[in-house]
């Protein structure tokens, strides 16, 4: 079998097509949180969804996991995981894949663990249910998973309650829990946002390494560009519920193809150029109940022209495997880079 044929036959592990998420309301004026979002994640790939608060990145992730908050619904689109349409699954089928096929790591390690249950038992819960392990075997696996996250004295830690552990340790426990059934896909919702920067780095390395060991793909939601560059190989930049740009991490960093991505880079500090002034993005994100026509970033965009505020702005491939939703991508970024 040739290399070319192999790479072509790889089916995406996760395929999100035209996903639209909103809060339906009987009185009209319902809010749309995610609009027409499509992307694919291949097996073993680490994929980042980047955006500011309210960009819809977390809702997209929760829709994939089937954990949308009460009142929030998928209005349109499809989510296929491993060939199965997860949106039409029964709750029972859904529970059977949550854990062994798809797992999730949450933002707040302080509140994401059950306060009245020992962490070892919480890790063992998934393996007991899905792998059919006995209580003792599952407990042994839990201790082993804790050891693999680099926590010293894992057998003692397994008997600890969450409040007896620090934030970094708790997030390692979360990672051990998520990976305990060797899932094909790990969904991460800002897993390091609540941690100190030094701990953040260790946790990210650990997560990347364990996912590599187990061959798990990663879908990583964050607002932090540095975190994506450290962790992921491909990313989407989201704004106002839409994908603005999608590409390989290195290419997007070197040559962003959307004004929003560029503005995002300029508003974040850069350690290679510490003297540079940060450039905040003027204005506010658009209303979710009454979005402006055309490009949602147009009212805040320094390059915007009249035509930006009309018509739909689909993602278009501007370079090889590099997509942008900006009509003017070629004019703004094309020739100069």
């Amino acid at each position: 079998m040739s290399v070319v044929a192999l790479s072509r036959t790889v089916e995406p592990l996760l395929s999100v097509q035209h996903l639209t998420i909103g809060i339906p309301s009987s009185g009209g004026g319902h809010a749309t949180l995610v609009r027409d979002v499509s992307f694919e994640v291949g097996p073993g790939v680490r994929y980042g969804l980047v955006g500011e608060s309210g960009s819809g990145k977390s809702m997209t992730l929760k829709a994939i996991a089937g954990l949308l908050p009460r009142g929030v619904e998928v209005l349109e689109g499809e989510i296929h995981f491993d060939g199965d349409d997860v949106l039409t699954m029964s709750p029972h089928e859904r529970r059977r894949i949550m854990g062994p096929r798809m797992a999730m790591i949450f933002q707040e390690p302080m509140t994401a663990l059950n306060p009245t249950t020992r962490v070892g038992k919480q890790i063992a819960e998934g393996p007991r249910r899905h792998l059919g392990l006995s209580k003792a075997d599952a407990q042994e696996l839990a201790v082993d998973m804790i050891r693999r996250t680099g926590i010293p004295d894992p057998a003692r830690r397994a008997r600890a309650y969450p409040h007896e552990l620090s934030g970094g340790l708790r997030q390692r426990i979360m990672i051990a829990m998520a990976l305990s059934c060797k899932p094909a896909l790990v969904l991460c919702d800002e897993p390091t946002t609540a941690l100190d920067v030094t701990v953040q780095d260790q946790v990210l390395r650990l997560l990347a390494q364990l996912c590599d060991d187990m061959g798990s793909a990663l879908t990583f939601v964050t607002h932090d560009l540095a975190v994506v560059s450290q962790t992921c190989s491909r990313l989407s930049v989201m704004y106002a519920g839409r994908i603005m740009e999608e590409g390989n991490v290195r290419e997007v960093y070197e040559a962003p193809q959307h004004p929003y991505t560029e503005a995002l880079f300029q508003s974040a500090p850069d350690f290679d150029d510490p003297g540079r002034r940060l450039a905040p993005i003027p204005g506010l994100p658009p209303s979710l109940t009454d979005p402006p026509p055309g490009c949602p970033f147009a009212p805040r965009c320094q390059y915007a022209i009249e035509s930006c505020s009309t018509g739909s702005k689909p993602l278009v491939e501007v370079r090889h495997r590099h997509l942008s939703a900006c009509d003017l991508a070629d004019q703004i970024f094309g020739g100069t880079r």
């Binding site: 009460r70 854990g99 062994p100 797992a103 663990l113 059950n114 249950t117 819960e125 998934g126 899905h130």
Partner: protein
Amino acid sequence: MLSRLKFVPMRLLQAVPVAFGVTLVVFFMVHLIPGNPAESILGAQATPAKVAALTDQMGLNQPVVQQYWHFLSNLAHGNLGESYTYQVPVLTLVWQRAPVTLLLVAYSVVLMLIISIPLSMLAASRPGHVRDHAVRVIPLVGLGMPQFWVGVMLLLVFAVGTGWFPVGGYGDTMMDHLWYLFLPALTLAISISPVIIRSLRASMLNVLESDYVATARSKGAGGRSLFAGHVLRNAIIPAVSIVGVNLGYLVGGTLVIEKVFAIPGLGSMLIESIFARDFPSVQAVALFVAVFVVLVGVLTDVVYTLLDPRVDLTQRMNA
């Protein structure tokens, strides 16, 4: 685990000043009741001379403060006095009757839990749904109606009407007791369930929206495994203290209910003693109830500590 229960002996010692305060209040209160014990013992036909003689013999014409001192010094020797009515030590009477009342209270709590937990789960699983509103409103009827009336209605329907349950009494064997006490315990359970249901429903909703329940769902927990494994224990913690507070109220309720169902417990003993001006009996029952309420408070904290590993009451004690 056990080290977190070090607060218990200290808390039990705190029962002593509370009990002392109760004796003080109760002693002076019973002497405010109009009527003379000697008169009730001798009956309406007794001559004033005979009544005066007996009053003198019982020491009831001494100053009240002196009588109280006498009572306290007896109490220090474990002697609560003799019942005027029955001429036996009141402690004997209390020990005979206390198990009846304690069984009634425990039975009510069990029935209350059997009623409250499923109903609050039903309500919390679909907030805003018709069944949620039904669960929140219908039990309020139980809260609004006086206990004795609920008791009488249950008697009329399920004892007099259908004959399923006895009209009153206590029975001889444990199975008998459970059968005889069912309606009275149900009456008490109906009266406190609404409060517990509301508190459980609210805390279940809180827990259901918590991050760790989302984590549990992401591990494939759902339905029964989610409720049993993650929701119930965390939701019941705030309700425990409410049950504890309401137990005091429940003991008050037994006074009336024991009378309605003719149960030979402490409640009916207290009412009879008050009517008979049987001061030592009244004091003994009041003292017993006070100690019981304090013990329930300690028990509440123990349960709390066992359910929630974050609670450490020993630290607060040392601080």
